[in-house]
């Protein structure tokens, strides 16, 4: 009996020793070498090889029309091509369409299409396929998600001949071409879409550089090289068939595991590197870090103006002054994310650089404003007016994506300084709390988009019918703002559009509708043997040029 116990004791000790030695060896390898390599243009890209790319979450659908998630776009951008492509300077270049004409009233677009394109299933690409793709999105039966909003104000398509199509819009739209460049408006094979119906999201067929092979839910998505491909867009170097034989998108939700798999060589690349790992990856001799700022609407905190006192611009301004965004971004993202200043991100047409540095935290002034409004500090430091304590309901979703829950924790402490008690509600069910019941005072969100017209969906006054479908994020209304936003949609002269959107941004910030927080950088950690991962203008990865050194 005694011996058995000694063996047990020995076993426990052994486990302990192993644990300790395990920790020690990992710290010693971490600082092994530090060199920055930026070798690019190993002149002869090798064909062949499989890339494994770890995604942070599971896509909802691989049908471009029915998807609502950026992570899905990262996977299906390889399968679907668009009519046009947006270059980094925001100009529109040909892709599946070689040229286009816009009518004088701005309400119809006539596209000439490429004649040498085939879908993966052999269906020829032509005007009928384009018409089918857009009509399908517009058909309520399809239950399309983000694609519907992007396609607006689409009305109908006319097939003029096999390779000419005329698209009619209800109103002119300055963002239409830019929207067409997005993968969610990619062209789908009519034969396959008809054949699979609802199951098209599991059997996607397009004209892209890679063909769909398989999708195991929550595990991986596999695509293989499309050998016939030779219609690459302007934003990639290799217009021909891709170098890689196969890409496997592995779904690894756990941050540390995802990044660890790259470092250990289990996968060749992984997306969204947490800020605390970015610094340590820079010292890793075997791993490279790629980073691109996404464009669209930055992560922004929205005041719910339906509820008092948030309908009072002065109260909102006080909170805007009390939230020290600089300190939040520096603390949580360790210098890897940029702070945002405007309702749109840099890189979008009309971005107002003059707003940078304009809003500065000023606790004293914030306190002064609230004093003047009659909010008196109580004995516990919380302000009281008409017998009610001044509370702010801060809602955020779970999981803690991009450390958004941690922002709530810091804001809670910062607003305590001006006597506002912040109640944080972390919920799984954002759809009900925010979009159905609008039960919040402050809520944060962001959106990837290519055009400032995205502002209209958020900041334009919403009709009661629209509110019945889902509640808007601001709940505010400003006739002047409405007018500018409407102008921005239809104005075709880029210079005039820029002016209009600058006024919009200044007004939104001056009236403290929002507190913009950060611009999300899309990051990829990849083994140094992987060359040629590039990004499109929205920050989505492109795999046309990728090759693997042996």
């Amino acid at each position: 009996m005694k011996q058995v116990n000694q063996i047990k004791l020995l076993a426990i000790l052994l486990v302990f020793v192993l644990l300790v030695s395990g920790c020690a060896s990992s710290t010693s390898t971490k600082n092994s070498s530090s060199q920055e390599s930026n070798k690019e243009g190993a002149s002869h890209p090798k064909s062949g090889g499989d890339l494994t790319f770890a995604l942070a979450t599971s896509p909802d659908s691989l049908d471009p029309a029915r998807s609502g998630l950026a992570v899905a776009v990262r996977a299906f951008r390889t399968i679907f091509d668009s009519l046009v492509v947006q270059a980094p300077d925001n100009t529109i270049k040909p892709w599946l369409a070689t040229e286009w004409k816009i009518s004088n009233d701005g309400k119809s677009y006539t596209f000439t299409l490429r004649k040498d394109v085939k879908f993966h299933d052999g269906t020829p690409f032509n005007a009928a396929a384009v018409k089918y793709s857009f009509d399908r999105i517009n058909d309520p039966k399809t239950q399309a998600k983000n694609a519907v909003a992007l396609l607006k104000p689409y009305q109908s398509s006319e097939v003029i001949d096999d390779y000419t199509i005329k698209i009619n819009l209800a109103t002119p739209s300055a963002s239409f071409l830019s929207n067409l460049s997005q993968a969610m408006l990619g062209i789908v094979s009519p034969t396959a879409a008809e054949k699979y119906g609802d199951q098209f999201s599991k059997n996607p067929v397009g004209t892209g550089p890679y063909k769909f092979v398989s999708w195991s839910e929550n595990a991986d998505i596999v695509v293989e090289k499309n050998k016939d491909y030779h219609w690459g867009p302007a934003n990639v170097e290799n217009k021909e068939a891709p170098y890689l034989d196969k890409i496997t998108f592995k779904i690894i939700p756990e941050e540390a595991t995802r990044i660890g798999s790259v470092q250990s060589g289990q996968v060749l690349a992984a997306e969204t590197v947490p800020p605390q790992n970015i610094a340590s990856l820079k010292n890793d001799s075997k791993t490279q870090l790629l980073k691109v700022n996404t464009i669209g609407l930055p992560y922004t905190l929205f005041f719910n103006q339906r509820k008092a006192p948030w309908n009072d611009v002065k109260v909102r301004q006080a909170v805007q002054l009390a939230v020290d965004v600089d300190s939040i971004v520096k603390t949580l993202y360790l210098g890897t994310y940029e702070r945002s200043w405007s309702p749109i991100t840099p890189g979008i047409l009309g971005y107002d650089k003059s707003l940078e540095g304009e809003t500065k935290a000023n606790i004293k002034k914030a306190n002064q404003i609230l004093d003047e409004l009659g909010y008196k500090k109580g004995s516990d430091g919380i302000r009281v007016k008409d017998g009610k304590p001044f509370t702010l309901k801060y809602v955020d979703g779970t999981p803690n994506r991009e450390k958004r829950n941690d922002i709530a924790v810091i804001v809670q402490q910062q607003l305590k300084k001006i006597g506002i008690k912040v109640e944080i509600n972390i919920t799984k069910d954002v759809a009900t709390v925010i979009y159905k019941n609008a039960d919040y005072d402050l809520y944060g969100n962001s959106q990837v988009n290519s055009d400032p017209n995205a502002l209209r969906a958020i900041y334009h006054t919403r009709t009661p019918e629209e509110e019945a479908v889902f509640k808007g994020l601001t709940g505010g209304s400003d006739p002047e703002l409405d007018q500018w936003l409407e102008q921005g949609t239809i104005e075709l002269d880029p210079a005039k559009r820029e002016e209009t959107y600058k006024k919009v941004q200044q007004k939104i910030i001056k009236d403290a509708w929002i507190i913009p927080i950060y611009v999300f950088p899309y990051t990829v950690a990849a083994s140094k043997t992987v060359n040629g991962i590039t990004f499109d203008s929205l920050g989505y990865p492109l795999f046309n040029d990728v090759n693997i050194e042996q």
Binding site: M1, N5, A256, Q276, T331, L332, K416, I426
Partner: protein, 296 residues
């Protein structure tokens, strides 16, 4: 050396058997006093955190985030720049509340169900015990997880979830005790002189049957704290200004490669508390164990 045969295998904590098997009792006394001191210290932390913590738990020193343990911050700082030592001290309160409250609630409900089933027998026994058996088929952690997920986040909901998960164990032990004691001679004697049934129940049966429950509760305290920490680790707690130990662990997990101290110290605190409580429970069990006390 005589083999110690323990009848209540449910209560066995095999890990610590070797400590007691040594004939030298001072070793086990050393453990018990150590455990006692640790438990008293942690209770003091929970009651008077202000006296012990060097900083306010919500103070964010944004100039020194993620700094390793040093003379200013003994346990280092987390990614908000909060002092980890102060967080651990303040966090003890909620962790202890979860442990103690859930044991009290679970023990009370389990005790009532068990004693009713054992005392009345018959149909009540059958119905109650089948219900308890259904609960027992689900692992305690899973049951607590499901209940916490259904009730939503909140300290009280965590307490309820952990309590519910511990009910079956208490109920079964209490029922067994009741059945064995209600047939004793002194109970029959009492009944024969005409004592009222309720009085027998309250005066003779209850006081003589709850001592194993007390031992179980002490040991259960440890596992309740552990399950509670597990639930808040999984994010089923609320985001509070002052996080409890489980939440601290969960927040620090993403930083394990850059700041080991954020996770390690709350983890050690949980380990020490649970270990100490278990050692004390073990000692308590020995005291109530007729076989061991006879030997001494």
């Amino acid at each position: 050396m005589k083999e110690v045969v323990n009848t209540k295998t449910v209560l066995q904590v095999p890990k610590w058997k070797f400590a007691r098997l040594h004939t030298n009792f001072s070793v086990s006394n050393f453990f018990i006093y150590g455990a006692g001191i640790i438990v008293i210290f942690i209770i003091t932390c929970a009651l008077f955190p202000k006296w012990l913590a060097p900083y306010s738990p919500t103070f964010m020193d944004t100039a020194s985030t993620l700094s390793a343990p040093n003379s200013a911050h003994w346990f280092g700082t987390d990614y908000f720049g909060r002092d980890v030592l102060s967080l651990v001290i303040y966090g003890s309160r909620d962790s202890l509340i979860i442990g103690i409250a859930s044991v009290l609630i679970g023990g009370l409900i389990g005790g009532i169900i068990g004693s009713a089933a054992g005392y009345f027998g018959g149909i009540i026994d059958v119905v109650f015990m089948r219900f308890i058996e259904i609960l027992m088929t689900i692992p305690a952690v899973l049951l607590a997880l499901a209940i916490a997920a259904a009730l939503g986040p909140g300290l009280f909901n965590i307490v309820l979830a952990v309590a519910a998960a511990s009910i079956p164990g208490y109920a079964r032990v209490m029922r067994g005790q009741m059945i064995s004691i209600k047939k004793r001679q002194y109970v029959d004697a009492s009944r024969s002189i005409g004592t009222h049934e309720w009085k027998i129940f309250l005066w003779h049966l209850l006081p003589n049957s709850w001592s194993p429950l007390l031992v179980m509760a002490t040991i259960g305290l440890g596992s309740s704290i552990l399950i509670g920490a597990g639930l808040s680790f999984l994010g089923l707690g609320v985001i509070k200004e002052i996080p409890d130990w489980g939440a601290l662990l969960s927040q620090g997990r993403g930083y394990l490669t850059v700041g080991w101290w954020i996770c390690t110290f709350p983890g050690l605190a949980i380990t020490l508390l649970v270990l100490s409580v278990n050692i004390m429970g073990d000692k308590l069990r020995d005291t109530f164990d007729p076989k061991i006390s006879k030997k001494r």
